[in-house]
């Protein structure tokens, strides 16, 4: 059985030649949650955007392959690629406010995609959306469906987006820091919901986060990203029991709940970062696209 998502040696550069992704390889098996963890600016969002075909124009992929259920995105023409991505993937975004169109009511906004892109009948789409709203524990679907996004709380908006992401039964969901923009009190509920729906639907998730605490709760596999490079890859339990890479250890040390929950948040150890920077600079020196 082929992986749900398979990224092989993906490198991407900015117009000034700076590398944002450095031969990234990672895979997500069907029904599995893979966490992609790293500090802000590591390139987590870039990887998600690359998979979903929405990289900014300034970012260019220079090598590597991305396969969704065995289909190589690079070998498809743009239209077929869009269709494939549209049918098999979905995104749970970071900011639930800007991810909803402010001038359209939630109901039409959610059914529109099922009807216009996937060709469902209006009734089927409507039923489906109501079922999903129920699954994300929205108690008053009538009100929500009639609301504009700004009339809902952040947590409600994220529930709506989770429902929308699962509605068409995608094989893969990219969740890009789906709880970061929310109140702390709501974060846990949302995380639990995503885990619940993931189990019920058997959907594979690439779960992007900067929070190791979240990783422990939701994922079976982890990839640790630093400066666009995967520095460690492991089963989640193995990673916490026995982190291999110095950067992973430093990241854990910087996450208070794994050492002393009352300690203030420490920055990742300077000397570890300096060592990594030197290592990456040396690799960049030697690197040429196609030979990395």
């Amino acid at each position: 059985m082929s992986a749900c998502l398979d990224i092989r040696g993906l490198s991407a550069v900015l117009p000034n030649g700076q590398r944002v992704l450095r031969s990234v390889s990672l895979s997500v098996q069907p029904g599995e949650v893979r966490a992609l963890v790293g500090e802000s600016g590591a390139g987590k969002t870039m990887i998600g955007k690359a998979v979903l075909g929405v990289l900014p124009k300034s970012v260019r992929i220079v090598e590597g392959e991305m396969l969704i259920e065995g289909e190589d995105l690079g070998r498809l023409d743009p239209k077929a690629r869009r269709t494939l991505i549209g049918a098999r993937t979905a995104l749970i975004p970071q900011d639930p406010l800007t991810a909803l169109n402010p001038s359209r009511r939630i109901g039409p906004q959610m059914t529109d995609r099922l009807v216009r892109i996937l060709g469902w009948s209006t009734e089927t789409a409507d039923q489906r959306i109501r079922q999903l709203l129920d699954e994300v524990q929205i108690r008053d679907p009538e009100r929500v469906l009639k609301s504009y996004p700004h009339e809902l709380s952040g947590g409600m908006r994220q529930r709506v987006l989770i429902a929308a992401a699962f509605a068409a039964e995608p094989r893969l969901i990219v969740a890009d820091e789906p709880t970061t923009a929310l109140d702390v009190t709501v974060q846990k509920q949302i995380l639990r919901l995503i885990a619940q729906l993931q189990r019920d639907h058997g959907t594979a998730i690439l779960f992007v986060t900067h929070d190791l605490g979240v990783v422990a709760k939701i994922s079976q596999k982890v990839s640790v990203l630093y400066a666009g490079k995967v520095v460690e890859e492991a089963d989640s339990s193995a990673l916490f029991a026995n982190p291999q890479h110095p950067y992973t250890r430093a990241l854990m040390a910087a996450t208070p709940r794994y050492t002393d929950p009352f300690a203030s948040l420490k920055p990742v150890d300077e000397s570890v970062l300096a060592g990594l920077a030197a290592e990456i600079a040396a690799a960049d020196q030697a690197w040429r696209p196609g030979h990395g």
């Binding site: 929405v54 549209g86 049918a87 995104l91 975004p93 970071q94 800007t98 402010p102 892109i117």
Partner: protein, 282 residues
């Protein structure tokens, strides 16, 4: 929340005052032949420079007095409104359609369409607008349609610039990216996702532009470059009123008040509509 909204919307005095005046003026213009107390072109030297109704020497039936040729001022203002509204609607709508369409394309697509359109706008805006208008009318010939065309040709840039900026900021929003991921085409996203979000600004600008068109038409007829001098227009009435300011101030003051009220109403109405249309402000 809903109740508060309804209350706030129902009580927007700006919307009702401005809309009320515009509706009144519009209806008067449409039904001018039925409403106007006198023939706006009928001269009567026995009735010249009659004062408005509350002053000594006023004649019944000539509510706002007469001009130096004995023509009824109120009737002339009512008929003048016809041309003002025709120009306002036709010119502003044309400028709006052209400018908003180009602005939407430039802002949403960016890249070379944006570079070409923005360059044209820059060149366009280098011309001083009033000179540009006079020049255009001189080239196109006087007449209602050339006045409309001139205003549209000059003022589409106003729409283009604003809508481009708004479309550009909308295009960066995550909902546009989500639509891409879901598989919508670019043109579809532009029309179905981005356009509704810039529409409140389009409406506000459209109303503002109608006010501007009324002024520009008045200026052009003031300098005698608009339509034939027989038909009364607010600008030509003001021009005549200026000549007889010392004998009959009302011939200048009433058309000025009418003009200012109308222009103000258009701008206020636009702002109020925008606030009402915009789901986030609402």
């Amino acid at each position: 929340m809903d109740e508060a909204n309804v209350a706030r919307r129902g009580l927007s005095p700006r919307l009702w005052l401005a809309g009320g005046w515009l509706l009144l003026a519009l209806l008067a213009a449409i039904f001018a032949p039925l409403i106007a107390p006198q023939d706006p072109l009928a001269q009567d030297l026995m009735l010249e420079r009659l004062p408005p109704f509350w002053l000594d020497g006023a004649e019944p039936g000539y509510w706002l007095g007469t001009d130096s040729l004995g023509r009824d001022l109120l009737s002339r203002l009512i008929f003048g409104g016809r041309i003002a509204f025709i120009v306002a609607f036709a010119a502003a709508t044309s400028a709006c359609l052209l400018g908003s369409a180009l602005g939407l394309i430039a802002g949403y697509f960016g890249g070379w369409p944006d570079r070409i359109i923005s360059r044209i706008v820059d060149v366009w805006m280098a011309f001083p607008p009033v000179l540009f208008a006079i020049l255009l009318v001189a080239v196109l010939g006087t007449g209602l349609s050339s006045v409309i065309l001139a205003i549209a040709i000059i003022d589409w840039t106003r729409f283009c610039r604003v809508i481009r900026a708004e479309a550009m900021s909308q295009a960066r929003m995550d909902y546009v990216e989500s639509a891409r991921i879901a598989g919508y085409g670019r043109v579809g996203i532009m029309l179905r996702e981005v356009l509704p979000n810039v529409l409140p600004s389009v409406v506000a600008l459209l109303s503002l532009e109608m006010g501007i068109a009324v002024i520009v038409e008045a200026i052009l007829s003031f300098v005698n470059l608009s339509i034939s001098t027989d038909d009364p227009t607010w600008g030509s009435i003001i021009a005549e009123g200026r000549l007889s300011i010392h004998q009959a101030w009302w011939v200048l003051v009433f058309p000025l008040i009418t003009l200012i009220l109308t222009v103000l109403s258009f701008t206020q109405f636009g702002e109020a509509l925008k606030a009402r249309f915009d789901p986030v402000l609402r």
